[in-house]
């Protein structure tokens, strides 16, 4: 513990004392009011202690599988190793190598037949800055394939990619609606308590040291909508970001 943490902890202690002096009066009033009395209060503590004791065997029976863990080698990995920096999804799209490039995942895919020669891409959920890559096929068969690709998302070396929701694609006539693009991931991380951390041996304990700050610790994967359209189809989008591969404007 450093000096400032220690003094802050002591300041908190002082505040807690004031709060406690207030609550101790309240608790006494509560006990009197609810006729818990001395016997009741004794059982209250015993009950609380029993719950704490019972939690010990339950805790040690929790299996280690199913939790989130850092990928091996994270500690020694160079900056950007776990991120999109090492995987260029845009270049892979342009080179038609999305399925072959390691680190790029196919999140979802849909095929549909377009009745006309114009396709409108719409985002009912609001603004989307997700790039759309479009490749024209050599034929005009009316078949459209829309696929979502993404690079991996990491938090401090923990792969969160499987927590990213697959975007929804709905086709109505000549309109493709893309939704469910917003994702919110909520994680639980335990920190060693102030006192336990004082005696923790960094060489033998597996304490998660926490992220600190910096781009390395939370790496958002890049996502693209990749479409293959018939040669005679025109694309319209209510937002920017449609890029035709191999074509110049």
């Amino acid at each position: 513990m450093n000096i400032s943490n220690t003094l802050n902890a002591l300041l908190i202690l002082l505040i807690v004392l004031v709060i406690l002096s207030f609550f101790s009066m309240r608790v006494k009033d509560f006990i009197k009011r609810t006729h818990l009395g001395r016997k009741g209060s004794r059982w209250f503590f015993v009950l609380y202690g029993a719950v704490l004791v019972i939690s010990i065997p339950i805790f040690f029976m929790i299996p280690e599988q199913g939790f989130l863990y850092r990928e091996q080698g994270f500690a020694g990995a160079p900056e950007g190793y776990f991120t999109g920096e090492r995987v260029n999804i845009y270049a892979a799209a342009e080179e038609n190598k999305l399925n072959e490039t390691d680190g790029i995942m196919l999140l979802g895919k849909t095929n549909f037949t377009l009745p006309g020669e114009e396709l409108l891409i719409s985002y009912p959920g609001g603004f989307s800055d997700m790039p759309v890559f479009v490749r024209r096929k050599a034929t005009g068969d009316g078949q459209i394939t829309a696929s979502f690709y993404a690079t991996k998302t990491y938090y401090y070396g923990i792969d969160l990619s499987l927590k990213i929701k697959v975007p929804e694609m709905k086709v109505t006539g000549s309109k493709l609606e893309v939704g469910n693009l917003e994702n919110e991931i909520s994680l639980v991380e335990f920190r060693k308590d102030l006192i336990a951390a004082q005696f923790a041996d960094p060489d033998t304990t597996s304490q998660f040291q926490g992220p600190g700050f910096g781009s390395r610790h939370f790496e958002t994967g890049q996502r693209i909508l990749y479409m293959e359209i018939p040669s005679n189809v025109e694309i319209k989008s209510d937002q920017l970001g449609v890029q035709f591969i191999g074509e110049t404007i």
């Binding site: 001395r38 938090y155 994702n183 991380e189 336990a196 958002t220």
Partner: protein
């Protein structure tokens, strides 16, 4: 003069048992303090949020630090109150002396420190169990979740030792307030806040007060910390007894 032969140990033991029975509410308050912290914080000690590209990440930090602080605060507070006039006068119901009264008080406070330290450490275990069943393992970072029995026991021992230190310090302050008037009620918080303020103003300069705190909090060896805490606790309690023994009659 009493016709009954008594010795210090048996009187102290009787007083101690009486205090444990009659002041059970204090343990109740310790548990209440821990539960209040759980209610107020939901066990959280902080949060980190980050986002971009349609993805928001929220990391909720959990630890038992707040409960440990609240427990130590409660022990400190209880010790001051316990050294006060109201609690001291209860000892006049016994055929006893100042020494047995102090020893039984110290016994009671040590019991409170042990129970407080153990419950504060186990609170972290309970919190983990609750989160495992409410949030699911797929949302919990495994590396920070699991504790070894050694981690748990050393955390417990350290919390108990800090509890003893807080109790011993609180008891001494309580005795000083009791013996030398309310001036200490103002002097001690003023001393603490003043030191904290000077520390902030003169960054980098370490005051004696801070050095005393660092003497304990910078100790990474549990064995040496145990020695330091027990010796300091014993010195503080012994000082309290000596100051208290100067009062010859019921005041």
């Amino acid at each position: 003069m009493s016709l009954t032969e008594t010795n210090l140990l048996s009187v102290t033991k009787r007083q101690y048992l009486y205090k444990i029975k009659s002041h059970m509410g204090i343990f109740n308050n310790l548990a209440a303090a821990q539960l209040i912290v759980l209610l107020l914080t939901s066990g959280r000690s902080g949060m980190m949020g980050s986002g971009g590209d349609g993805l928001d990440l929220k990391v909720l930090y959990y630890s038992s630090s707040w409960v440990t602080i609240a427990t130590l605060g409660a022990l400190f507070y209880v010790s001051i109150i316990f050294a006060g006039q109201v609690y001291r006068n209860q000892d006049f119901a016994f055929v006893a002396n100042r020494l047995s009264s102090n020893l039984s008080n110290i016994g009671f406070l040590l019991t409170a420190a042990v129970l407080g330290g153990i419950t504060a450490s186990l609170y972290g275990v309970l919190l983990r169990v609750i989160l495992f069943y409410t949030r699911g393992s797929s949302n919990i970072i495994g590396e920070s979740f699991f504790l070894t029995p050694q981690d748990l026991l050393s955390g417990m021992a350290a919390a108990v030792l800090y509890g003893i230190l807080c109790s011993a310090l609180g008891y001494l302050i309580g005795i000083l307030i009791n013996q030398h008037g309310k001036i200490f009620l103002l002097l001690i918080p003023a001393l603490f806040i003043g030191t904290w303020y000077l520390q902030v103003v003169h960054m980098g300069e370490v005051s004696i007060f801070t050095k005393l705190i660092l003497f304990f909090v910078r100790e990474n060896s549990l064995a040496i910390f145990t020695f330091k805490a027990l010796v300091t606790g014993a010195v503080l309690f012994a000082t309290s007894i000596m100051i208290s023994n100067r009062t010859e009659v019921r005041s």
